[in-house]
Each structure stands twice: as structure tokens, then as C-alpha cells.
């Protein structure tokens, strides 16, 4: 989602490109000016020094070949050579064997000794450049046959170069710079435009569905994050929160699969496009229609309240119910819609979708078109989500405890066995019944681990009881998933051996419908269990998808008649008949019968009369913790008589 935002709004790219072009232009201009300046000034100095060399030679030759006195001739020469340029600072000194002559123009007399000193340190008959406090000077020292001529003049090449630079170079570089900016703007905009086009196309592909052209899931999540993100992430005062609200609709087509299967995928696609078009026609521009994939659409209506949402949803259901022509056949595809409101039903975009999804499933189950999300559903969902994350820790910390409910001989009230039932001693939620967590364990793939946990604790309990002289078998409930555990048989036999417990003390109760469905895959395991000596029981007999053939094949030791047939057997003759049949059946199979859910004496008496030997239920005892069960077994092995 972050990537999409980057794809769509990358303004800095262009600015950086312009900046880079301008920097390069600036660099080129500066380099150009500096190099040109240095070149020109160097050329100037060289020319000047050449001129001075010539001047020195002329002065020497003229003086050497002249008949006049040194002063006289030298003065004449100075006038010829330097009169033209009166502004030039010049110093000339001619030194002969017996006479010397000096000429100075515009040169500060104080700097002359310093300059001469500097020159005298250099080898004779050379030239160069020297910088003093009063300025920059060029000098030439010529040693002729008769005279030594020393020429010093101020370096005007620099000044002339400067003025040239100011005039031409600066104007040229300005123009170069200006052209560079043109280039930078044009180039950067071309490149940026191309990149932007590609990015837009990519963003469009990434956030839109190719079939219907509608935005997709990614787009929706991005949108919700932008609209609700801040509100959801940071705790804000309630008043601020109120500003953002909206309704999210999850729309699922009821008969899409049928259309796809019977008319082919092309027909399914036609249907989706048509439904998308119709839904879109219902919506205002500010409301967003998204195809989540498959036959699921989502509408996000920002600023909408629940009442309005309900009305809109009904319109959507209606429009989806209108027949669509596919292959010259009018096909009617119903729609189920779940509605969730932000911030009433969820605090974040993702939770909002989950909430609306939950509502949609409810609508689908009830065939009721549109359903608004219900708060308790969300609470349940959140709680189960939290419990799911806590499962692993709970298993580690042994937060699951086994409770025991006695099974009694109905005739004597004697406890003949106990059924182990798990309870989660949750540190915050308190004691949770299996209904609250078994499904979670199955979903999270820890059912085999949990099965072994129950087996280990039961066998340990059996061993403890054995030590205190109590010999009562424990029945545990296992699901077929447990039986798919390849190491289960070995695990049970190891545990039994380690604790010195007889296999007959352990009963395994299987739920009938699951048992029949998975009979082929688990039959082997069940046979191994029987060989081990563990007793098998059919739990909740009479409910689920009964198959007597399977039960016959399983060869079970115990049949437990489901509580639904017991609780109203005194006035429901059909249930009475089923109980009687189960009893007859068990006699033929030579298995014991246990009636579940006995709540009063009347039921117990009736069962005894019908020939049922064993029962369990609240009449005798509720499931109790192991310590209490131990006490009960030790003190009062005879419970309520029938």
C-alpha cells in the first residue's frame, strides 16, 4: 500500500532532476569562466614578458652603439618606449662598468628596493613575476655585453583579463546557464512525464481489477488506511473521532458458482461485469465500488450512516436480483450483503471488512439479503482471536484441567467410571468450557497435541487413583483428527506402561458422525487401540449422520445414548422408542449402554425399567475437579439411587 502512494505521487523525482541539471550547468559555467580567465591571464603575462625581453635588448643595443652619454641616450629611449602609456608603472635600471642610469614612472619609490632585492635573488638574465604589498609586477633582467638592463613594470594583464571576463565571459556564461535551465526544465519534464505515465499505468494495474475495471482489494485497503488510518492508529478524543464515519458493504453473489459451473467462466465473467455495472450505477461518485475477487464486491460509502446504508443495501439486493441475460437465458443471481459502520462496529479498515464479512455470512445463512453487523458477533470474534493466540502458552502452562463426571450403575448408584472433560482455567477469562476452545484448537492445528495432553493427564490421574486404591476407568473424548496422529497408539501404550496403568482403565469416546465419516482412515487405528486393550465408546449415539453399518463394524464396547433422547423421554414416545432400540441394539452387539444427561429420578427409573444399566447426568454429579472427584470416590462411591 505504501508502494502505491509512492507510485502515484513522486513529485520529488522531477525536482531532483531539475536540481541536478541546474547544478551541472552551474558547474560547467563556473569551470568555463575559471579556465578561460586563467588561460587569458597566462597568455597576457607571457606576451608582456616577451615584450619586456625585446625592450631590454633594444635598450642595451641602442646604448652600446650610441656615441652619446648614457643618461642622454637612455632618456631618449625611455621617452620612445614608455611615453605612449603614461599610466603604466615602470622602473628601468641600466648598470654599466662605470656608469648607471635609472628611470621610474608611477612606481612607488618605497617598493623599488624590495623589488630589486627580489630580482637579485634570481639568476641573471631571467624574467618572472613578483607580488609585493603594492601590487603585482613583471620583471626582466638582461645581462648584455656592456650593460645590465633591469626592467620592472606592473602586471596589467590581470586587469585587462578581468575586464574582458566581466564583459564577455559573464554574458556568455549567463546565456549558457539560461540555456541549461531550458534544457533542465524540458528534459526533466520529459523524463518525469514518461516515468509518471509508467507509474500511473502500474498503479492502475496494481489497484484495479482487469475484468470489471473496478478498483481491487489493494486499492480499498490503501483507501481505508488513508481515510481511517490516522483515526484508528492514534487514540483521539471522541469528538475528533466522530468526524470520520462511513459504511462498508460486503456484497456476495449467491449463485455465481452455479452460473460459472453450468454456463462456463465466460458467462460468469459476463455476470460479474454486469453486476459491477449495476452496482456502480446505484452509487454516488464519492462512494467506492471494489471487486475483492471471486464474486465478492465491497462498497465503501464515506460519511454514510447506518439507516441510509440499510436502504442502499436493499436497493443493491434488488438490482442484483433483476435477471441478467446470459446465453439468451435470464439468470437471476441473488446477493447477500453485510454492512458494517465505522467507527461503531470496528476501529480499523481491516476490522471493518471482517465485521462486514461476518454480517454477510449471517445474511447468507438467513437468506435475508442485507444484514447489519451485530456487536456481540464482534466481541465473540475478538475474544476467540485472543484465545487463539494464547493457546500455545496455555498448553505449556498446563492451564487446561480435566474435570470428571461420574458414570453410575443406575440400579445401585455405584460409580463405575468417570468421563474426563477439559476446562480451560484462563488467567483472565476464568473457567472456560470446551465449547469455547475446542474449535479453536482444531482450527489452529494443535488438536493432536491437545489430545496427547488429555491422554497424559488422564493416565496420570488413573495412576494416582490406583495408588489410593481407587480403580475407576476414565473415558476421554477424542476427535478423528486425534486418531490421525500416527504416533498416538505408541504414545498411549508408553504412557500406560510408564504409569503402570491397565489399558482397560482407559476408554476412548468417539463422536458418531465424525466416526462414520472418517471410518476408513481411522479404522486401522481403532483396531490397534482395541488390541492394546483400550475400550471404545460411541458418544452421542443417535445424533449426527448415523450409520448402523459402521457401528456394527466398529465393534464398540460402550454406546452412550445422546441426552436429547433422554431429557424428554417421559412424554416423547418417539425418543422413548429410539432409546429402546439402542438398548436392543447394544444387547445384540454385546456392548454396555450409558444414558447421558439424566437430570431427574423419573428418567432414571424409566431407564432402569427399560433395561439400561448405566447413566450419567446432573442427577448424580456435575463434572468436578480432580481433587473433588478423588474425595467423592474415596468417601461415597454410591451416588443417588434411582
Amino acid at each position: 500500500m505504501v508502494q502505491i502512494a509512492e507510485l502515484t505521487k513522486d513529485r520529488s523525482f522531477r525536482n531532483r532532476l531539475i536540481l541536478a541539471c541546474i547544478s551541472v550547468a552551474l558547474f560547467v559555467s563556473v569551470t568555463y569562466v575559471v579556465v578561460s580567465y586563467r588561460l587569458t591571464s597566462e597568455l597576457g603575462v607571457k606576451t608582456e614578458l616577451n615584450a619586456m625581453n625585446l625592450q631590454a635588448r633594444i635598450i642595451h643595443n641602442e646604448l652600446a652603439n650610441s656615441g652619446k652619454s648614457l643618461d642622454e641616450r637612455a632618456m631618449e629611449l625611455a621617452r620612445i618606449l614608455f611615453a605612449e602609456n603614461q599610466d603604466l608603472a615602470v622602473f628601468v635600471r641600466v648598470t654599466g662598468h662605470d656608469a648607471s642610469w635609472e628611470y621610474a614612472n608611477k612606481i612607488p619609490s618605497s617598493s623599488v628596493p624590495e623589488l630589486l632585492n627580489a630580482i637579485s635573488q634570481q639568476p641573471q638574465d631571467s624574467q618572472g613575476q613578483v607580488t609585493t604589498a603594492t601590487g603585482d609586477f613583471l620583471w626582466h633582467d638582461y645581462q648584455g655585453q656592456q650593460y645590465r638592463v633591469q626592467l620592472i613594470q606592473s602586471n596589467t594583464a590581470l586587469e585587462r583579463t578581468m575586464s574582458m571576463v566581466a564583459k564577455r565571459l559573464s554574458i556568455v556564461s549567463l546565456i549558457v546557464f539560461w540555456i541549461a535551465i531550458w534544457l533542465a526544465l524540458t528534459l526533466s519534464s520529459f523524463i518525469a512525464k514518461r516515468v509518471q505515465q509508467k507509474n500511473d499505468a502500474l498503479a492502475k494495474i496494481a489497484t484495479h481489477d482487469t475484468l470489471t475495471g473496478l478498483p481491487n482489494r489493494l486499492f480499498l485497503l490503501d483507501l481505508l488506511k488513508r481515510e481511517l488510518g490516522e483515526a484508528a492508529d492514534k487514540p483521539r478524543p471522541d469528538t475528533a473521532r466522530q468526524e470520520t464515519e462511513g459504511c462498508l458493504f460486503v456484497i456476495d453473489l449467491d449463485k455465481f458458482k452455479v452460473v460459472n459451473d453450468s454456463f462456463g467462466h465466460t458467462a460468469g465473467d459476463t455476470l460479474l461485469v454486469e453486476v459491477g455495472r449495476r452496482l456502480k450505477s446505484l452509487l454516488a461518485d464519492s462512494q467506492v465500488l471494489v471487486r475483492m475477487g471471486g464474486d465478492e464486491f465491497i462498497v465503501w460509502a464515506s460519511g454514510m450512516q447506518i439507516d441510509t446504508a440499510k436502504a442502499l443495501a436493499e436497493k443493491m439486493v434488488e438490482i442484483c436480483n433483476a435477471p441478467v441475460m446470459i446465453n439468451h437465458l435470464a439468470v437471476q443471481t441473488g446477493a447477500s450483503i453485510g454492512i458494517a459502520h465505522y467507527p461503531t462496529h470496528a476501529g480499523s479498515g481491516e476490522m471493518l471488512i471482517v465485521s462486514a464479512d461476518t454480517a454477510m455470512y449471517k445474511a447468507k445463512q438467513q437468506h435475508s439479503g442485507a444484514v447489519i453487523f451485530d456487536e456481540p458477533d464482534s466481541e465473540k470474534y475478538k475474544a476467540s482471536l485472543r484465545l487463539r493466540t494464547e493457546l500455545a502458552q496455555a498448553l505449556e502452562r498446563e492451564e487446561f484441567r480435566l474435570y470428571y463426571q461420574p458414570k453410575v450403575a443406575l440400579a445401585t448408584g455405584e460409580i463405575t467410571g468417570v468421563e474426563a472433560l477439559s476446562r480451560w482455567h484462563h488467567p483472565e477469562e476464568g473457567i472456560l468450557p470446551p465449547g469455547a476452545f475446542i474449535a479453536l484448537i482444531e482450527d489452529s492445528g494443535r488438536i493432536q497435541e491437545f489430545g496427547r495432553y488429555v491422554i497424559r493427564h488422564s493416565i496420570r490421574q488413573l495412576a494416582e487413583w490406583q495408588k489410593s486404591g481407587i480403580h475407576v476407568p476414565i473415558a476421554i473424548n477424542l476427535s478423528p483428527y486425534n486418531l490421525l496422529d500416527p504416533g498416538l497408539i505408541d504414545f498411549i501404550s508408553e504412557q500406560l506402561d510408564a504409569n503402570g496403568v491397565e489399558a482397560q482403565q482407559l476408554e476412548i469416546e468417539l463422536t458418531e458422525n465424525e466416526t462414520s465419516q472418517n471410518i476408513n482412515s481411522i479404522q486401522q487405528r481403532l483396531e490397534s487401540l482395541k488390541q492394546l486393550g483400550v475400550l471404545l465408546a460411541i458418544d452421542d449415539f443417535g445424533t449426527g449422520m448415523s450409520s448402523l453399518a459402521y457401528i456394527a463394524e466398529l465393534d464398540v464396547d460402550i454406546i452412550k445414548i445422546d441426552r436429547t433422547f433422554i431429557f424428554d423421554m417421559h412424554d416423547n414416545h418417539k425418543h422413548q422408542a429410539i432409546v429402546a432400540t439402542a438398548l436392543t441394539l447394544s444387547k445384540s452387539f454385546r456392548s454396555k449402554v450409558v444414558a447421558e444427561g439424566i437430570e431427574n429420578r423419573e428418567q432414571a427409573a424409566m431407564l432402569v425399567e427399560m433395561g439400561c444399566d448405566y447413566g450419567q447426568g446432573y442427577l448424580y454429579a456435575k463434572p468436578v475437579p480432580s481433587e473433588q472427584m478423588t474425595d467423592m470416590l474415596r468417601e461415597n462411591p454410591c451416588l443417588q439411587l434411582a
Binding site: K167, R168, I171, V172, I175, W182, L185, T186, F190
Partner: protein
């Protein structure tokens, strides 16, 4: 190339001033520049700015897709 105005008033008047000054300098600088090539370049630079002044349109802005007029 379609000529549509893409300069706002400030942009246009700035270009106008630059255009007039630069063109005038190129034409009437006397011997100051001493270089015909530079004078020609300056002349072109000034002329382009003058075109922008009169038409309210900049070819570079056009190519670059910049528009200072329509936004404000």
C-alpha cells in the same frame, strides 16, 4: 504546436522587463561587448522574452508541461 497562454501576469511582466532590457542592451551597448556572437545571442534571448511578453506563452514551459497561468 498549439499556442495557448501558459504564463501568469507576474511571470509575463518579469519576462517583459528582462526582454526589453536585454534586447536594448544588445542593440545599443555601443562598443561595450565588442563581440558580435554575444550580441546575437543576447538579441535572441531578449527576443524570446519579448515574444513571451506579447503572446503570454513560453515554448519551454509548453514543452515542459509547466503552466503558471491556469492554476491561479
Amino acid at each position: 504546436m498549439q499556442v495557448t497562454q501558459n504564463l501568469n501576469t507576474l511571470d509575463r511582466s518579469l519576462r517583459g522587463i528582462i526582454g526589453i532590457v536585454v534586447t536594448a542592451f544588445a542593440l545599443f551597448n555601443g562598443d561595450y561587448i565588442e563581440e558580435p556572437i554575444i550580441e546575437i545571442l543576447l538579441g535572441i534571448f531578449g527576443l524570446l522574452n519579448l515574444i513571451s511578453l506579447f503572446s503570454g506563452w513560453c515554448p519551454i514551459y509548453h514543452l515542459a508541461g509547466i503552466d503558471t497561468r491556469s492554476k491561479d
